[in-house]
């Protein structure tokens, strides 16, 4: 049992690493992409459609597509992270767009009338007011990523999926649960954490 415990700890840490790196990259790309979509609505719609399409690819297939690609593909953790980034983009970009679009136009106009440049308005008004929605995007993206990351084991990405795949192969439900339960717990924890941030940001805005 101690062997299994050690395995669970190791797999959980690896799982967190994959999801953490993917979310960090996806967030730092997704929010600027969202802003760009708001600023250029025409190309923004095309970008959103592309990201939509990525989301419709079954996760196992997406991993499969990535394997033959040079640089980002191959067998291992890198492919897993790239796939998770692609999956996480949709909620992040969409919620950034929704959040900014939801800012009261009178407030945006007041900011312009007072003499803020577009960039100043973005940083001081639009993004802070979009924060609850953006946190919502991070929450959804993280929960999805934690689930999808279990499939990363299929391409040698490691993580809790390793235990699940091994359990399935050995018809050993203890092992399956050893992977599935921590993954579920991580998802619930992320949901609670970012849900709290979302509410905190919303309360600060009085909405």
């Amino acid at each position: 049992m101690t062997d299994l415990t050690a395995e669970i700890v190791h797999a959980t840490a690896q799982h967190l690493l994959i999801v953490g790196v993917a979310m960090l990259v996806a967030t730092s790309a997704g929010i600027p992409i969202g802003v760009a979509c708001v600023w250029n609505p025409r190309s923004g719609r095309i970008v959103l459609r592309l990201i939509d399409i990525i989301q419709t690819i079954p996760s196992l297939a997406l991993f499969g597509f990535l394997i033959p690609l040079p640089l980002i593909g191959g067998i291992g953790i890198r492919t897993a992270i790239v796939a998770l980034i692609l999956y996480s983009l949709l909620p992040l970009v969409r919620n950034t767009v929704t959040g900014i679009a939801g800012v009261d136009p009178l407030i945006r106009e007041a900011a312009t009338a007072l003499g803020m440049t577009e960039r100043q308005r973005l940083m001081r008004i639009d993004l802070p007011l979009a924060l609850p929605s953006i946190f919502g995007g991070i929450r959804i993206a993280t929960v999805i990523a934690i689930g999808v990351a279990t499939i990363a084991a299929a391409v040698g990405g490691g993580g809790l999926g390793t235990l699940i795949f091994r359990g399935v192969a050995m018809v050993d439900s203890t092992r399956i649960l050893a992977g599935a339960l921590p993954a579920a717990a991580l998802a619930v924890a992320a949901d609670l954490l970012f849900g709290a941030l979302e509410r905190l940001a919303a309360r600060r805005l009085g909405v």
């Binding site: 009261d104 009178l106 407030i107 106009e109 007041a110 900011a111 312009t112 009338a113 007072l114 003499g115 803020m116 440049t117 100043q120 001081r124 008004i125 802070p128 007011l129 600060r204 805005l205 009085g206 909405v207």
Partner: protein, 248 residues
């Protein structure tokens, strides 16, 4: 010294192709106070928006202090134009002090100066600094919010002040108080004032010159004293509508 304002044959088109403001010319000297009155949809707000660049003329020009208004540098110039809108539209995530300090911060004032100027103005607007500086807009009443909006527009002493029906959403008593405060502020500083309202009594209280706009064009432009004696039929209707029948 307030700003000089020249609108030269400006036309602003609406989305449906009709002009909202048609071939309007208006010259306002430094330090003048002008009320623009007219019925709803007459083009009052659009005329005001021309003066802070929120509306762009399709033909004609807007010149403030001898310089045509427009890009580049429009944002910087707006910092010297105070705009008070009908809805105060305070920034909900910023405290009263942060809201009021918006323009000074854009102008790069040191914190201490922002604090002092904000405190002095808030006190004049009957918002004691100690009680209000740290509060968020959602905890303020409508009248308090509108006063913070006024402070936010005026704190950096803009030489041009544009007001778009700033008191129309307030109850008549608060409204009267704010009009008085506003007149005192107007008389205290040297500012050019353009005040849009559909309320003749308010126009006569805050301004010395009245411009009547109807269907996108200026139909009368008179000193306040002449306005009340004018024989113009639309002016008559405005004055009649504002008259309170005396109790018999």
């Amino acid at each position: 010294m307030g700003s000089s304002v020249v609108i030269d044959r400006a036309t602003v088109g609406g989305s449906n192709g009709n002009a909202i403001v048609r071939d309007v010319s208006l010259r306002i000297d430094p330090g003048e106070s002008v009320a623009v009155i007219g019925r709803s949809g007459a083009g009052k707000t659009t005329l005001l928006r021309l003066l802070n660049g929120l509306a762009t003329p399709s033909t004609g020009a807007v010149v403030i202090d001898g310089l045509p208004l427009g890009e580049p540098g429009l944002a910087e110039r707006r910092r010297r134009i105070g705009t008070i809108l009908q809805a105060p539209a305070l920034f909900p995530h910023r405290t009263v002090l942060e809201n009021v300090g918006t323009v000074p911060r854009l102008l790069g004032w040191p914190e201490e100066r922002i604090r002092q100027a904000s405190a002095a103005l808030l006190e004049r607007l009957d918002l004691p600094f100690d009680r209000f500086a740290g509060r968020f807009p959602r905890s303020l009443s409508g009248g308090e919010q509108q006063r913070v909006g006024i402070a936010r527009a005026m704190v950096a002493d803009p030489p041009l002040l544009l007001c778009d029906e700033p008191f129309s959403a307030l109850d008549p008593i608060v409204r009267r108080d704010l009009q008085d405060t506003f007149v005192a502020l107007r008389d205290g500083g040297s500012v050019t004032l353009l005040f849009v309202t559909h309320d003749v009594a308010e126009a006569l209280r805050v301004a010395r010159r009245i411009v009547l706009i109807d269907d996108g064009a200026i139909v009368a432009d008179l000193p306040a004293g002449d306005f009340v004696r004018s024989a113009h039929p639309l002016i008559h209707r405005f004055l009649d509508a504002a008259r309170i029948p005396e109790a018999s």
